[in-house]
Symmetry: C3
Subunit: 261 residues, 3 copies
């Protein structure tokens, strides 16, 4: 799939936050995709229509960008262009959770890429984002991901020590989360738009596409962390690894644990 | 204190400019703090209430973010959460100086972290930002810092070749300014939010907290500059040093010159 | 000229997109210039008036920043301050092309710094941005650049494998485009503001100034690519090279192919 991204260089319309926009654009370029990052509502429909996937991220959402996300998302739906939503900090404010609900209500989102706390907020569950025991929380998150995927009719892809991907029927776990991934900002945001790039070139089996992206990304993180134990180096190493990893290396390296609910 | 930041991982609500937001977020993560960077006025009060400190920066201020800063600052005041203001370029426009005056008038700011030109603008003094002689200017800046701290009832922390920190009564000087610190954008902005992170975990003696942060930061800059004489490398090295410096090293390395006004 | 930038440290008012603003600010600092990046319309005229050049970039344009660009541009015109326009993605939406036309109609832009697709959009020509054969397209782009420069009465500077600079009468070609330059976001945007910095210190012969900047930039790219084959490293190496290259090295290294139309 990553070979196809390099060959087709899909245009990814990202409406994203200003904290990670540079890293996200460089990450997409590193894998061979092509980012467009306009966020004015006046051009949202046109940019979505030009693109092969739309990647929405609410990290520094405001009223204008929410409007643009709704327009871009609806245009993408009309044209059959995949839409990925990254509900950054969904639970931190009424504004965010209502925005996420509005987007999910008015746009057919293909993949909801989030962390455990964001998933819990979207599902309306209580969640303590601090001091969470990963082992204990895992089962709940799996169930929550499955029920959310079923209820909303989309793929839910939750990152953590073990990533969980589900379409509401089957569940894949990818146990390669690297703690360095959370040492810099934007690895989750970039992952969401790499998922969008994957869907842009590979639509037959979205669940498998998301799994492949997550495996790839886990290896990128692992490799980057080997040569870069500090956050300045890690950001650089991460982009380098994104630019150099090939499909074959991914296939050789990863075995996926899959199970049925 | 930095050990405490790593342990408590305080949430810092930053309303900041888009030029430095990535660097600022990564810098906060590097020391173990946790940045939230929403800037919509709809969520400003909630984000402030969730946080352990609020860090305001007017580098790319506009009407909406000013509104959010006022809301976040006032909510922080109600809840006893410390507020740091970085009045970037306070003197460059009427819009900025009026915004700074409005924030200072309506929010109890705990620390004003600025440079000499910004301090002069806030104090209503003439200041030539180009060709300033550091030695000659120093006394004036010290006096200005003291009178501003007294007048506004807050800590004033001015960076330069020698940093000056004052509560209007005592003055600390930290003579470790490194010229490489001004070779990249955002070191001052990040410092302001590291001050916020310090205040988030250590509230007993704010003056000492700010001093400790400034000493720490000076050593980070000095160390980073040793292995990185060019600006690309320096940005990376700076984040690396932020991530690796410990309290003990700071204590061992720095002696502070302190004097009474 | 770059020696002069280091000595005079011209203030460059950049109204630019949030994807590249950090890279653009650090790049300007690396060459010794001083960026100001406010984008509120309330301060646009004052910031332009303080500056030695104005650099406009529509990469994440919205209604507010367009308003600011018009105000800053007109103020710069009144005061004889040079204005550079980077019409990022001019052809991707009605909003962008209309904004570009409005800016070009109401502001005397000194240099239009763009790529082939953006030039074609501004000239109202069809252009396929994908699969373009550089050799074949070259002649057309040269003609288009010349006719656009004539029609609009400004310098057109088009980057590509071979860069083209024209005032509508003579044409310079700089054949040093490095493919790594497009592997990261923002090299074009930064180039536009480096052109602004060049014009800020050297106004006698704008065409030669732009050529000198382009040659310098091409060497920066070539040098950076030698030690950095992956995009993470390249971004760092590029800033390092910007900070270290001297005028003398540029003069020694480059011969310019020039021809008359």
């Amino acid at each position: 799939m990553f070979q196809q991204i390099k060959e087709k260089s899909p245009l990814i319309h990202c409406i994203t936050n200003h904290v990670v926009s540079n890293f996200q654009a460089n990450g997409l370029l590193a894998i061979g995709a092509s980012p467009i990052m306009g966020e004015a509502h006046e051009e949202a429909a046109e940019l979505a229509a030009l693109s092969q996937a739309v990647s929405l991220n609410i990290g520094t959402l405001h009223a204008e960008s929410l409007k643009s996300m709704l327009i871009a998302g609806k245009k993408a739906n009309q044209l059959g262009i995949p839409v990925v939503l990254d509900p950054v900090g969904a639970g931190v404010s009424k504004f965010r959770i209502e925005a996420v609900r509005e987007i999910l209500g008015r746009v057919d989102v293909n993949v909801l890429r989030c962390n455990a706390g964001e998933l819990a907020a979207i599902a309306g569950e209580q969640w303590q984002s601090k001091g969470v025991d990963a082992g204990e929380g895992l089962l709940d998150i799996k169930k929550l991901a499955v029920s959310t995927a079923k209820k909303l009719g989309l793929l839910v892809a939750v990152t953590g020590a073990t990533d969980i991907i589900t379409d509401g029927k089957s569940v894949s776990k990818i146990p390669f989360g690297n703690p360095m991934m959370t040492s810099i900002t934007g690895t989750g945001c970039l992952l969401s738009s790499v998922v969008a790039a994957g869907l842009a070139v590979s639509t037959n089996n979205p669940m498998k596409t998301v799994e492949d992206v997550f495996r790839f990304y886990a290896i990128v993180g692992e490799r980057a962390s080997r040569n870069a134990a500090l956050s300045g180096d890690f950001q650089v190493a991460f982009l380098n690894q994104l630019a150099s990893l090939t499909d074959r290396e991914v296939t050789q390296r990863i075995s996926l644990q899959e199970e049925t609910v």
